[in-house]
């Protein structure tokens, strides 16, 4: 029951946030569901983080009171938006949006349904696995679920867990939005249950697929949208592969899929913002970027990427837009985690502290190894099927407009930040040293890359797939078109 209650809470709160703050003309029920989960996970997690940062213990009473207060504030604009949706202007926008969704022939409709069914079955496998499997990935147990368990017992992450050197292995400065979300079943049921906490994680993948499907449907049509949904849902690293260790799958209580959700949502909102197709898309992008930064450290470089994308992609008000979007994200991050985390011990994986010219220069010698490993990962059929080859091929034959080129910049900055991290990292571990000594890896960085490259690319893969399908030539000829 705790899991169902947590999902319902996120759905209701997220739907309210979505309805009150954002208007998405032409959105269908699948997109509405995905967006409700998106803002529910991000919103509930952020509110819990803000409570903790303010010194208020995260208990069911305090969290529900805070969410209730916000819901009361949002109820009026949500109601007004619902009423306005019946108004003429929004109906016009919805009609324009539905023009991108032409009627399908019977064959096309069958293909659309088949692809959606495949996506749903793939997601069902991940969701069931998430509930059935006990947590087993070392990172999931010692970081994300550990913090969720501490929250369930102590109601805060500002205690000994974050300050004692004995708990350094939990990565004390890592942003903990996911543990706050994983703690929701325990808060609502009154007891800690690892299966329920882990079971919630797979629903991030459901939101990811639904949000991407909706955005693609509005812009590229139902068939490419269904293809995108089936493609993303059936990615081996999301649906069923438990490796590379320490894993990444939707069922594994790792933060990689949640980050992929927020990255994808932010990127798709940026496209809407740059093309001016709906109101407040900038705010949505900023919020999603903030959620991403609160989910993993890897979400922080996105802020720079988004700022650059706006500077290069916007046709007017470039600086204002970039500062606005990045400012919203940075403010949310700082208030909810960034400021209090400064008092926690920094680890050897504290990359900003190692970002020095001398380290970068020394890391240049690692570039060939990094490029080779990256290349091998991109063409690995076992991990990606044909994903990256197909993305590149679709981009090559597609038309990349100004706004969509900005997304390429965003993805490029993100990838560059990962390469830079591998160049400057001083990471090592007994396992890495044993692997090097045993001839299983050339050096500790090669070992690190073998563990993490797949997970890092997973952060970007759904957005890259969406971008490729947005840019691809029209795959379906509209009904009635000739020639």
């Amino acid at each position: 029951m705790g899991l169902v209650a947590a999902l319902l809470l996120c759905l209701c709160f997220g739907a309210l946030v979505d309805r009150a703050l954002f208007s998405v003309p032409g959105a269908g029920w699948i997109e509405r569901l995905g967006r409700a989960l998106l803002f529910g996970f991000g919103g509930c997690g952020s509110v819990a983080l803000l409570l903790d940062a303010a010194g208020v213990p995260v208990r069911s009473a305090s969290l529900l009171a805070a969410l209730g207060l916000l819901a009361a504030l949002l109820a009026r604009p949500a109601l007004a938006a619902w009423r306005a949706e019946r108004g003429a202007s929004v109906r016009r926008m919805a009609t324009a949006a539905s023009a991108a969704c032409p009627a399908l022939t019977r064959t096309q409709a069958a293909a659309h349904a088949g692809l959606l069914l495949f996506a749903a079955l793939s997601l069902a496998q991940a969701v069931v696995s998430g509930f059935v499997r006990p947590a087993f990935q070392v990172d999931a147990l010692t970081r994300w679920l550990f913090k969720a368990k501490v929250l369930a017992f102590d109601g805060t992450l500002t205690g000994a867990l974050s300050r004692s050197p004995g708990f350094a292995f939990t990565h004390q400065r890592y942003p903990p939005l996911l543990p706050q979300v994983c703690n929701l079943p325990a808060l609502l049921s009154g007891h800690w249950d690892e299966r329920l906490a882990e079971g919630l994680c797979a629903w991030f993948a459901v939101a990811l697929v639904a949000v991407t499907y909706g955005a693609l449907r509005r812009r590229a049509g139902p068939l490419p949208a269904a293809l995108g949904a089936a493609w993303i849902a059936s990615l081996p690293l999301i649906q069923y592969l438990p490796f590379p260790p320490p894993g990444s799958g939707a069922f594994s209580a790792m933060a990689d899929i949640p980050l992929a959700l927020f990255v994808t949502a932010a990127g798709l909102a940026l496209v809407d913002a740059l093309e001016g197709v709906r109101d407040r898309a900038h705010l949505e992008a900023g919020l999603c970027l903030g959620f991403a930064a609160l989910t993993k450290n890897e979400g922080l470089p996105l802020l720079a990427g988004a700022g650059l994308a706006l500077l290069l992609g916007a046709t007017r008000g470039r600086v204002r837009r970039a500062v606005g979007v990045v400012g919203v994200a940075a403010l949310l991050y700082l208030l909810a985690w960034g400021l209090i985390s400064q008092s926690f011990p920094a680890l050897d994986e504290h990359y900003p502290g190692q970002l020095k010219p001398a380290n970068v220069a020394a890391g240049l010698s690692r570039l060939p190894t990094i490029a080779l490993t990256l290349g091998a990962e991109l063409v690995s059929f076992q991990r990606w099927n044909l994903t990256w080859l197909a993305v590149v091929a679709l981009l090559c034959i597609g038309r990349i407009g100004r706004a969509r080129r900005a997304l390429l910049v965003l993805l490029g900055v993100q990838l560059a930040s990962y390469v830079l991290a591998f160049m400057i990292t001083a990471w090592t571990s007994p396992a890495a040293e044993a692997a090097v000594a045993g001839g299983l890896a050339d050096d500790t960085v090669s070992y690190l890359m073998s563990l993490t490259m797949g997970r890092l690319l997973l952060h970007m893969a759904p957005l890259a797939i969406a971008l490729a399908l947005l840019c691809a030539p029209r795959m379906v000829r509209p009904v009635g078109a000739t020639g």
Partner: protein, 201 residues
């Protein structure tokens, strides 16, 4: 081939590649990863078929990716963890001996809100480390088969839970002093007194 047809061909290939993974499993090392989704389903099915209280599935999953992973080792550890979870709580200190760093960290999660202490193998620790005075319980991985043994430590028991065992009986025959004297774990006796303890696997 025009661009539209090329896009359609690429889309077809993407979906065919995804469907190819559902083909029957190929030989070991199959670079197309055929049968991987079925393998995942089989793991889930075996977990669903497990009898209540069994730790075999969780142990198999935890052992899957560890270089020092062994299902028997994790089964023994998880059985002792379950026993400890039933009788420890906030403020209790559990010393863990003879485990690797990753195992220590994982057990720290399993046993929270009890606090774990001890030296890992990577830090020079072993199953023969001296028992720490603050330990309420001592969990040791010993012997050639790496079985897990549980002893009561020298620290006074928390009164709220004093004298209880998972099956509700009162432990007898073991005093903190006795176990404290044992120093390095013998591994032959399960701590709470052989009357109440199941032998580690």
């Amino acid at each position: 081939m025009d661009r539209e047809t090329a896009a359609q061909a690429i889309a077809m290939l993407v979906m065919l590649a995804a469907l190819a993974r559902w083909l029957p499993r190929g030989e070991e090392g199959d670079s197309f990863g055929r049968g991987d989704p079925w393998r995942a389903l089989a793991i889930d099915q075996s977990l669903l078929d497990e009898p209540p209280g069994s730790h075999d599935g969780a142990a198999a999953l935890r052992a899957m990716f560890r270089r020092d992973g062994s299902i028997a080792r994790w089964t023994g550890l998880l059985e002792q963890v379950a026993r400890l979870q039933a009788r420890t709580g906030d403020g209790d200190v559990i010393q863990i001996r003879g485990v690797s760093r990753n195992e220590f960290w994982t057990l720290a999660y399993d046993l929270y809100p009890a606090h774990v202490v001890g030296r890992t193998v990577e830090e020079g620790g072993s199953s023969r480390d001296a028992v720490l005075p603050e330990a309420h319980w001592v969990l040791t991985l010993v012997g050639p088969k790496a079985t897990a043994a549980l002893e009561r430590g020298p620290a006074p028991e928390n009164s709220a839970r004093a004298g209880t065992t998972p099956d509700g009986t009162t432990p007898a025959g073991t005093t903190p002093e006795e176990t404290g004297r044992s120093g390095g774990a013998s591994g032959e006796s399960d701590s709470v007194g052989s009357k109440h303890a199941e032998p580690p696997r």
